[in-house]
Symmetry: C2
Subunit: 233 residues, 2 copies
DNA sequence: GTCGAAACTTCACGCCGTATAGTCACTGCA
DNA sequence: TGCAGTGACTATACGGCGTGAAGTTTCGAC
């Protein structure tokens, strides 16, 4: 019993070390630096040994994406939950600020999740990354739900149905926030787009040639965001 | 005279063919498919022959980025200018719609410009791509300038200085739109972020798991955008 | 007609992912 | 205690990649 446990433990440790080394390589050399040979070199193994733990390099990358995406989702959720629910504007700002902060301190991770992760990589259909993505979207919808009492007057004519959204996401939202209309989900997706766009431009260096103060732009964005939802600053 | 011209003409033709083949490979296989060897194969040459035209693969990629980015800037400028200047909302919507349309029909080009273009690629400091980027920003600022008479009341307390922006961009804007305050440039950058974010999420497939109707989200975004600027729909 | 430069090929090196076959230690059972 | 089985790992190999050095061909200029 304990002996089979030993094998499994060693195996889990090696798997963890592979991921740790891969993340280290990524943060120093970008997503492209994740090569089986480099990982193996760092670990004193042959590249082929890694095939015992991950069927292919893309499998490893997929696992890393899952981990990194989960860490992002954890970070923004924690920041949001540190703010009381009766302060919807504060929660939105906390969430969005944590999003940018996480992206700046984990720039390579951001590129891994949202960019072309690695040459030729094709994301698989299911898995934990789509789940983390759902979590992010659902979290944002929660923020929109918190703001909805004040916001709904501003989006009265919005023409959205539940069929305009992924069935799983729609079901999740309708269960957690009964009475919330589909227009609120559209708002959540739009907010996601706004924040993702600004952070993405910054991370990929496209803002560098335009402004030395991307933080100020982002802060202005947040101010207008809560105002656009009819919330007091 | 004409004979030296011949060499140069052949050289220009070959250069153009390399770029054309590279763009073809990109649109069929993504930015990663741009390999010197594949280009050479397609052209019936050896990979090393390309070194006579481009010092390195990154040089070729840089040139392609410039070309593609310029085509994007042309497309959005043309769409905007097809709308009369006395219809600022129409111009904004035309610009933004052209932006998404271009991105969807040139998805690989979008990834080339805004993503990790190619393993290990590092963008050079100067060049035509930053110039095209400036052009996009300046164009957007022009849209903001058109909307400013109605919008300024909504952004009265915005706290931006010209020093918050790149000197070149600031100079360009101040010359072209005298009297326009720096807050308008901030609005332009934020709009860029909004649109870029939504399109980027769509192109990279992150919206796929949330909504089957990204177009509808985008249209709602445009509606709220012009409304948020105080313009009539 | 000859010279020199430009265009291009050949060969080589070290990267990469990965398939196949083989080695070796450790585990579980008799 | 000895022996099979299994899982971890290595060795070797293939094709593809960017790129450097050296050699060859082509062709305009004088």
């Amino acid at each position: 019993m304990a002996t089979t446990g030993r094998r499994e433990r060693l195996r889990a440790e090696t798997t963890a070390e592979i991921k740790k080394v891969a993340l280290g390589l990524m943060s120093s050399g970008g997503p492209d630096a994740i090569t089986l040979r480099a990982i193996a070199r760092e670990m004193g193994m042959t590249a082929n040994a890694i095939y015992g733990y991950f069927a292919t390099r893309d499998d490893l990358v997929t696992t890393l994406i899952n981990d990194v995406y989960t860490s992002l989702a954890d970070a923004v959720d924690a920041a949001r939950d540190a703010c009381p629910t009766d302060d919807p504007a504060g929660r939105i700002i906390a969430w969005a600020t944590a999003f940018r902060d996480w992206a700046l301190t984990n720039a390579e991770g951001f590129r891994l999740i949202y960019g072309d992760p690695v040459p030729g990589y094709q994301a698989p259909e299911g898995g934990a990354a789509p789940e983390a993505e759902h979590r992010v979207c659902a979290g944002l919808t929660g923020l929109a739900a918190g703001a909805w009492p004040q916001a709904k007057a501003l989006f009265a004519e919005a023409d959205f149905q539940w069929s305009d959204f992924d069935p799983g996401l729609a079901a999740e939202v309708r269960e957690e926030f009964p009475g919330l209309p589909p227009a609120a989900v559209a708002i959540a997706l739009r907010i996601w787009g706004h924040l993702h766009g600004l952070v993405s431009l910054e991370i990929y260096g496209h803002l560098r040639g335009q402004t030395p103060r991307p933080d100020k732009i982002y802060r202005a964005e947040l101010t207008q965001l809560v105002r656009g939802l009819g919330l007091p600053a």
